[in-house]
Symmetry: C2
Subunit: 217 residues, 2 copies
DNA sequence: CCGGAAGCGATACGATCGTATCGAAATAAG
DNA sequence: CTTATTTCGATACGATCGTATCGCTTCCGG
């Protein structure tokens, strides 16, 4: 049998080239040729890794989503096991991609979200990433809410039990994630400064924290 | 002097064709030819209205922004002059573009936001629209907050005076707008259902309302 | 009534796109 | 070493893009 190459590694390298280009010239500025050049491979190599351009973009968006959620999980693991509040702050701050160093990822994410709004297959991986993040955040909120009052119940889906709870962790998680996304977008187009967005996020987190505290007996 | 045509009307008609196409095939699916066909004019007519394609997109995004803010203002005017709370709810619901009938506008908006993240000139009109909306919302919040305690102070920029107010109208407005934006995006990619997004929005508004109420003496 | 400026729209043009093709190079199995 | 098979990368190809061009038509001012 002839040569054998590391297809997986090459795919990752190409995905990162896609991100670099999507960051610089926008989603439609990503051409196969430029991707190949950035990844330092030939056009043919890209074609052998992905049958079509859409397949390549699909892989790239999944790659970004994985990176973000993984980083969020890492932040979560690095936080003190007690107080889920600070952990929540870290996780959401990570997801919001507000810091300058993650501006590129934010642009890529926004670009893919916009594309996914009109391209159903592209929306799949995006939804998966969002679902994973929402689950993570909801679990953190439930944990923070339960740490002072009733027992854990941190496992399983973000439970909407206990009748009419004063604050539904699932809803709070959706709120937080949507807020983070909106802030990211508004920072990207220059309507908000990074500091303003961070202030908004922190204020909301403080409010959420308060809401959880008063929920305890 | 020869013929004279209604350039402004044609520009608007073309802008609406741009929106229709951006809604159907995404931002990069907008070609000059298709726009001309949709607007029922020739390619040359489009070229006479806008020297370049970017000029056309610029006008289109401004057009959408104007429509949204104008609708928000209309909603505002239609609300009872007292209780700014319900007015706020209406305005924000309008801005969030959650209803099915405005899904197209939402897609267009998202598409332009994504493009603006990498194209500075496109970001200008977008920022203007955001600024106008934020001002409107901030004024409403300030009015609602002041209607029960101190006097109006509804004019001018969304004031951050009075030392350490328990809830800064400017910040609340930014929060609300970012949340609306994030919700819109997440509905568009199918991560949230329209009902879920509306629930989140209403819950947040309820929380804001409560926060304003407790701020009164 | 008529001349000329402005609008018109079909078409041309060059660039760039995604993808297909193909001969040469390379390598693991025999 | 030979050979069969995979990989390589340059190039070709057809489509489509934004824009420029250019006769022809249209219509107001004199």
């Amino acid at each position: 049998m002839p040569k054998q190459v590391d297809y997986e590694g090459r795919r990752r390298r190409i995905a990162e080239a896609v991100c670099l280009l999507a960051d610089e010239h926008g989603p439609e500025g990503v051409t196969v040729r430029d991707v190949a050049a950035r990844a330092q491979v030939s056009v043919g190599a890209v074609q052998r890794c992905f049958r079509t351009k859409e397949e390549m973009l699909l892989f790239a968006v999944g790659h970004v989503g994985e990176r973000v959620t993984e980083r969020a999980r890492y932040r979560l693991a690095g936080s003190p096991a007690h107080s889920a509040g600070t952990a929540l702050g870290h996780v959401v701050a990570e997801v919001a991609l507000l810091r300058e160093e993650h501006r590129a990822e934010a642009r890529v994410w926004l670009a893919f979200v916009a594309k996914a709004a009109v391209s159903e297959p592209l929306a799949g991986p995006l939804r998966s990433s969002y679902a994973a993040l929402q689950d993570l955040v909801a679990r953190l909120i439930a944990e923070a809410a339960g740490s002072g009052s009733a027992g854990g119940s941190a496992g399983g889906s973000a439970g909407e039990g206990e009748g009419a709870a004063p604050s539904d962790p699932g809803r709070e998680a959706r709120t937080l994630l949507a807020l983070a996304d909106g802030l990211t977008a508004q920072v990207l187009i220059g309507h908000l400064a990074e500091a303003e967005a961070e202030e908004v996020l922190h204020a909301h987190l403080a409010g959420l924290w308060e809401r959880l505290r008063v929920a305890r007996p």
